[in-house]
Amino acid sequence: MNRRFNLPGLVFLIGLAAVWQIAAIGAQKPSFPSLTAVAAALAANRAALFAELGHTLLRAGAGFAIALATMLPLGILLGRVRPLGRIFEPVVELFRPLPPIAVIPVSMIFLGIGDTAKIAVVAYGASFPILINAIDAVRAIDPMLSHVARSLRLLRMERMRLIDLPAALPRIAAGIRLSVAVSLLLAVVSEMLLSTDGLGAFLMRAQESFQIAEAVATLLLIALMALVINLVTQAVERRALAWHHARTGGH
């Protein structure tokens, strides 16, 4: 364990849970379920919820993978080949201020309400953080590395793959972290709006049938899922960038 155990934090969480439980029992209202009722709902629906969790994760993962596979090379290209960057960066800037959620209706019209529509929305939204960070990261590379590449007579493609990608990776990682969060958000929201299945759809159904405890349970599961994925992303990042931290003497 390299991190200190946070006792006050734990105490606060337990206190919060206790206040919730007592207040809910005191209120005796169906619209304010107690923690135990939520836990019971979670247990009762665990099979369904985990199936929905799988759907959501699959969509978020597929969209993110598409974004990563296309935007990482594109970002390096636009960052490295300046004329291309100058031409296409305004296009990126044109779409950036639009919240990705606003693209869901367009996706619905062209692709329906199935998996493709949702994965497309996730891929669209997840693209921006990776693309923008990749462009900036490549531009910020130490010019010395480019001189080395030139004196080694590397071809343009080789230079982008062997020098630009690793050198830019620490900065790109920040974009990837953002992109993972956006993927989860868009997977859930597209399921809420284009309901078929997944945690977002489950949440909407629970709301429409006034099953508040189920809705709170779904929300808790979404938060847990996001927390776990954040931790996994951080762990992957630490391992992938271990060489970088070792070299720069960082922690």
């Binding site: 606003a102 062209f110 709006l193 927390l227």
Partner: protein
């Protein structure tokens, strides 16, 4: 240089136009740019639309204002009492990863569909980036500031408000910028999910009734809103932290 900047956008519009005119995609789904522009112009001139636009702006601005006040107050309190920071940390980590739109269904039960609902959702969405950036900036302060403050005879609160707060301002502004983006997203999402008014609702309504020209026009207007928000914040942050940039020698980039 100037030419470069419009080339990409021009190519995009041209490709869109060609695709639309070729009828490769049904024109109902994919209207050509000029017809979208006409639809947007008609929307902007219609009386109802401006009030819808104003509604969205008002929801976003008021939610963002609350988020800023709450986030800054929390950050100042946790910077002054470190114990509080550790206490809140796990709870904050859990709440900030929640996709804001996911709290819409439950918030409807708590608030009904009205102004408080939007206020809560937008503020909930925007408060985390503001708090987290401010708290980390206030927490990471150079020891020399402390020593200087002590030698002036400042109290801990004075050190916090007169030394640490100004020093943390650039990062606080960054947090505010992130929070503003989240606020716009949350406003549109809440209007799509729970709305009977506002741009998000109109966008969703236009899509469902297959008024695609209006749909693309509303998207463009939302995009312009985001752009205007960015511009406004960039101007404002130059006023607030301009002194910082000139002092740290990075001012020429502004």
């Amino acid at each position: 240089m100037k030419f470069d900047r419009i080339t990409g956008v021009a190519v995009l519009l041209l490709a869109w136009e060609i695709l639309a005119v070729s009828r490769f995609v049904p024109v109902l789904y994919f209207p050509a740019p000029p017809s979208v522009a006409v639809a947007g112009w008609d929307l902007l001139r219609s009386t109802g639309f401006v009030s819808q636009l104003g509604m969205t702006c008002l929801r976003m601005a008021s939610g963002l204002a609350i988020a800023t006040a709450v986030g800054l107050a929390m950050a100042l309190a946790t910077a002054r009492y470190r114990m509080l920071f550790h206490m809140l940390e796990p709870a904050v980590n859990m709440l900030r990863v929640l996709p804001p739109p996911a709290i819409v269904p439950l918030s409807i039960f708590a608030f009904g569909i009205g102004a408080p609902l939007f206020l809560f959702i937008v503020a909930f969405a925007a408060v985390w980036p503001i708090y987290i950036n401010a708290a980390s900036a206030l927490g990471a302060i150079e020891p020399v500031l402390f020593v200087t403050g002590r030698s002036f005879g400042y109290s801990s609160w004075e050190i916090l408000l007169r030394l640490r707060l100004p020093a943390a301002m650039p990062e606080i502004v960054t947090g505010f910028r992130l929070g503003a983006g989240t606020a716009l997203l949350a406003t549109v999402a809440a209007e799509m999910l729970a709305g009977q008014s506002g741009l998000g609702f109109m966008l969703y309504d236009a899509a469902f009734t297959l008024r695609t020209r209006d749909m693309f026009a509303i998207m463009a207007i939302i995009g312009v809103l985001g752009l205007a928000l960015n511009g406004l914040i960039a101007q404002g942050s130059r006023l607030i932290v301009g002194w910082h940039l000139t002092m740290s020698g990075t001012g020429e980039s502004g």
